[in-house]
């Protein structure tokens, strides 16, 4: 018994074809079905049928709500065109503006860009300016430290000349001269 080609199409493949036709298939399914439709007549036909229906479905116009319903709602809620104050209409605009999530997202995006740019292009901070008192204090501290160093040098010099030079070096030198004289002169 000769089976028709259509019988070979399994349910999974048909589901994929439908999804592609209605435009909500993933990219891999889309490519797969597109390629398949080039070689398989039946796939092409089913795809075409569903796509035609999908196009009409997606283009169906929405009916407008009858005016008398608006009037009935106004009478029940007590909202009239006159009751809309400036504040109310302003609030409405705010609600309409932020009603869409895209707008807050865009605002947040712009804020992030602005903050990041401020950090990136921020000028280096100017050098710190010292006060007169700070400068004087620094000078005093510098002089004090110089005086400490100077006194240390003086102490060292005095000790060198008084103790080391006189007692240790001169004494030994004199002893040396004495010995040399004794040897050379012989008495």
């Amino acid at each position: 018994m000769q089976m028709k080609e259509s019988n070979k199409l399994d349910n999974k493949l048909i589901n994929k074809i439908i999804k592609v036709a209605y435009g909500d298939a993933d990219i891999f399914s889309w490519v797969y079905i597109r390629l398949k439709s080039l070689t398989n007549k039946e796939v092409k036909l089913i795809l075409e049928e569903y796509r035609q229906t999908a196009n009409v479905v997606h283009k169906l116009k929405q009916e407008d709500i009858p005016e008398h319903i608006n009037e009935r709602i106004k009478s029940v809620t007590g909202i009239t065109d006159k009751s809309e104050s400036l504040f109310a209409s302003f609030s409405y605009r705010i609600f309409s503006f932020f009603g869409s999530k895209a707008i807050p997202a865009a605002v947040i995006g712009i804020l992030i860009i602005v903050i990041v740019s401020i950090f990136i292009f921020k000028e280096p901070s100017p050098p710190h300016k010292y006060s007169k008192a700070e400068i004087e204090l620094a000078q005093r501290q510098f002089q004090k430290s110089l005086a400490i160093v100077g006194s240390a040098f003086q102490k060292a010099e005095k000790r060198f000349s008084d103790e080391i030079l006189k007692n240790q070096i001169n004494k030994n030198l004199n002893r040396g001269y004495y010995l040399v004289n004794n040897i050379l002169i012989g008495g």
């Binding site: 199409l9 036909l45 049928e49 479905v57 009916e63 407008d64 809620t77 909202i79 809309e84």
Partner: protein
């Protein structure tokens, strides 16, 4: 004043969706108008009970529940109880596609035909189909509105597409005869 503005905004934004959903569900203008009016009044009465961004879901859920209540109360057998065609293969196999390539494409499918075919879908698969294809709700939103699992939403939309195609095919075949 801010409540008035909020209500006014919600009505302007969603009344068309509510009315059209009710039209597809109720299949007649009078009942659809009643449902729409009831939903809008309930929205006004509960305006402080829901978050501004959750309002859309709340309004559509109320619309759906009211439609179901109306259909039950009026005992309208608007939807056929026929079993869904789970497998499209048998149907395709019955037709001599090779001898008639582009058979469906040659037939004129008018807006009214499609609308009528959508209206005739069983309620279980019609709701997610209308919300997804015509009202542009996401699967997740539909799942919340109809209080059914996400996967059921997907499956029912797929079934509705198949069923709709079948209805249109039948219609086209009748016209050819």
């Amino acid at each position: 004043m801010i409540i008035t503005a909020k209500f006014d905004y919600l009505v302007k934004q969603h009344k068309k969706k509510i009315y059209n959903y009710a039209l597809y569900m109720m299949k007649n203008q009078m009942d659809a108008e009643d449902v729409t009016q009831e939903v809008l009044i309930r929205t006004w009465q509960n305006i402080n009970k829901f978050n501004f961004y959750a309002a859309k879901g709340w309004m559509m859920r109320t619309t759906h529940n009211l439609c179901i209540d109306y259909l039950r109360k009026h005992k309208k057998k608007n939807y056929s109880e026929v079993e869904l065609v789970e497998d499209y293969r048998t149907e395709i196999a019955d037709q001599d596609l090779e001898s008639n390539p582009g058979k469906m494409a040659d037939k004129i499918i008018t807006d009214e035909t499609i609308k009528s075919a959508i209206e005739n879908l069983p309620e279980k698969i019609k709701s997610p189909f209308v919300l997804y294809e015509l009202q542009e709700f996401k699967y997740k939103e539909i799942s919340k509105i109809l209080d059914i699992p996400l996967n059921t939403v997907r499956v029912n939309i797929l079934r509705a597409r198949k069923q709709l195609q079948k209805e249109l095919k039948n219609y086209a075949d009748e016209r050819i005869k």
